[in-house]
Structure formats: structure tokens, C-alpha cells
């Protein structure tokens, strides 16, 4: 966490020395992003804090932890493929879930399918590329997401 602050401050200083106007513009962009996500963000945190009350940690680790890996894996991959959730909401949510004991494997398969597979964006995609290509691209993306999640799981030592 401290490193994160350190890197930000160092980069900000370098930018400031090189070009004051650009740095101000960067800060303005940062502010704009921040304001834009403020409300959905607050809303998300509220929903999570209520859900965490009803869903105890033990349940989370039971279904998304190391025990029932396969069931959790398949269901989160499908969930990630279907729902539309902006990354600005998804990553903080995943950050919270990891701290609650959800495995990185599950997080990986969820975020990757979320980003790469778009069941709900199928109509738009097929407008541009046709049905067949859209289906193949989404299937390939799904496979890629699974491979990435397995690799993540192996590196974090969660699979065996």
C-alpha cells in the first residue's frame, strides 16, 4: 500500500517537473473519473455491507473458497460471462471478496469472463462481425478465461 502511494507521488512529481499544464490536466481527469463513479461506488459499498451482514464469511469461503472449487468456478465463470458490470465497480468488489477468503482463481475467472465474454453484448457484436464470428470469439474468450484462471490458481497454490 505504501509503495502504491510512493509510486503515485514520484510519478506525479516527475510529471509536474516536466510539464505543469499536463499535470493539472491529469489531476482534472482523475477528479472527473472520481466524480463519475462516486455514486455507483457508494451504492455498491452499501449493497456489499448489507449483503455481508446476511452472507457470513463462512458461506463465502464455503462456496467460493478452496472447498467446492469446481462448482464455484463454473458458476462464477457463467455469471461473469452474462452480467454487465463496469470494471470500476468489479475490481473493488473483487478486492473485498479476496480479503473475505474468496480464492484468486475464482476472482480471475470472474473478472476475465466479465471483460472478455459478452453474452449481453452479443447483439452489438454480431451487428459488426456477424453471428458466427461473434460466437467463436466469445467461446474462445471463455476458454482463455478458464486457462488464465487455472494458471492463476496454480501460481497462488490454490488448486492442489
Amino acid at each position: 500500500m505504501q509503495y502504491f502511494y510512493l509510486v503515485t507521488i514520484v510519478l506525479l512529481l516527475i510529471s509536474l517537473i516536466k510539464d505543469r499544464h499536463k499535470t493539472v490536466a491529469a489531476l482534472k481527469t482523475a477528479y472527473r473519473h472520481f466524480i463519475k463513479i462516486c455514486r455507483p461506488f457508494l451504492f455498491m459499498i452499501m449493497l456489499i455491507s448489507v449483503s455481508l451482514y446476511f452472507v457470513p464469511d463462512s458461506l463465502l469461503t464455503e462456496y467460493l473458497g478452496k472447498k467446492n472449487m469446481l462448482v464455484g468456478f463454473i458458476s462464477t465463470s457463467l455469471l461473469g460471462s452474462v452480467i454487465l458490470m463496469p470494471g470500476f465497480i468489479a475490481y473493488p468488489l473483487c478486492g473485498i471478496l479476496v480479503k473475505k477468503g474468496v480464492t484468486y482463481t475464482i476472482i480471475s475467472v470472474f473478472t476475465t469472463t466479465l471483460m472478455m465474454v459478452g453474452v449481453l453484448s452479443y447483439p452489438v457484436e454480431s451487428e459488426y462481425f456477424g453471428r458466427k464470428i461473434t460466437i467463436i470469439r466469445n467461446l474462445l474468450s471463455y476458454l482463455i478465461a478458464i486457462v488464465i484462471a487455472v494458471i492463476t490458481g496454480l501460481i497462488y497454490g490454490e488448486l492442489f
Binding site: A25, F41, Y128, F129
Partner: protein, 170 residues
């Protein structure tokens, strides 16, 4: 709906605090601890994203798509894309129309889902550098393989190409 939800939540918390309603208090503690954690991360994440957007200009690399370099440029182009696949579809389509080979178009499309730098910064701030680097390194060969596969497939079945696309249908 969000606003209504927020108002309702605040009311619920205020009432719980004043009458000492146990579940309400617990939810309140959850909320505060999550909020403080998030608030610590968010400013840094957005400042880094802001710096990236200002210093790295949109790449004008569309004419450089050939050979190994094509993949490189496709990924470079995608890394500065803002927004998800919705933004990438029209860009990929226009690459198609400019005669860029399909493998590179797909590399761009795949990469713009997972290689966008602002999103990657954001991801790393919440899930850690280790997680993000594993994901990036694992994705790179996979999406290149997938795009080669799709390029080959389209060469063999050209009628699946962009003929069925928006303009031709209208």
C-alpha cells in the same frame, strides 16, 4: 434508483444508530470499514490513470500492421482504448475496413478487453501487482494464439467475414 437506495440506507443507519438496532450497527461498521479501505486506494488509482491519459497520446499506428509487429501494434492500440468492448467493436470494424488483416483485428479486440492500461492500473490497485502481472503474462500468448486461429479460420471460410456486417445489411 441509486439515489433512493442511498437515502434509504442513510435513514436506516441513522435510525439504527439512535435506537441501537444491532443488525443496523453491524452493517454500519461493515460500511465504514469498506469505505475507508476504498478511499485510501481510489485517489492514487485515479491520479495514475489521469497521468497515463495525459502523457500517452492515442496511438496512430494503424498503418503498421504487418508481421510480428502487427500484434505489437494491435496491443498498443488497444492499451490506450477507453471503455470496454463496446468501444472496441466499432474501432475493430474500421480496422477491418481499412484492410488490416483479420488476425490483428482480433488481437486488438481481445486485447482491448484485457490490456487497457487505465483498467489495469485500477485492477492492480485493488487486487495487487502479482495478480495483475500473472493475468497479463498469461493472456498475451493466449490471445495471440486465439487471433491466429481466428485469422486462419476466416481465411478458409471467407464468407463468414464482415460481409454480414452492418452496412451491407442495411
Amino acid at each position: 434508483m441509486q439515489v433512493a437506495g442511498i437515502v434509504l440506507f442513510v435513514l436506516f443507519i441513522i435510525i439504527s444508530l439512535s435506537i441501537g438496532y444491532k443488525p443496523g450497527l453491524e452493517i454500519y461498521t461493515n460500511f465504514i470499514s469498506l469505505l475507508t479501505k476504498m478511499i485510501k486506494i481510489l485517489p492514487c488509482a485515479f491520479i495514475l490513470i489521469g497521468l497515463f491519459e495525459v502523457w500517452i497520446k492515442k496511438q496512430t499506428v494503424q498503418n503498421n500492421f504487418s508481421g510480428i509487429r502487427g500484434y505489437f501494434f494491435a496491443i498498443l492500440l488497444s492499451s490506450s482504448t477507453m471503455g470496454g468492448l463496446y468501444v472496441a467493436f466499432p474501432v475493430a470494424y474500421s480496422l477491418c475496413k481499412k484492410g488490416v488483416k483479420m488476425e490483428f483485428v482480433f488481437t486488438y479486440l481481445f486485447a482491448s478487453a484485457v490490456f487497457r492500461i487505465p483498467m489495469t492500473i485500477y485492477e492492480a490497485s485493488f487486487l495487487g501487482l502479482k495478480f495483475t502481472s500473472i493475468r497479463l503474462l498469461a493472456t498475451l500468448p493466449l490471445i495471440i494464439l486465439a487471433s491466429i486461429f481466428m485469422g486462419k479460420y476466416l481465411d478458409k471460410n471467407p464468407h463468414f467475414g464482415i460481409q454480414i456486417s452492418r452496412e451491407n445489411r442495411q
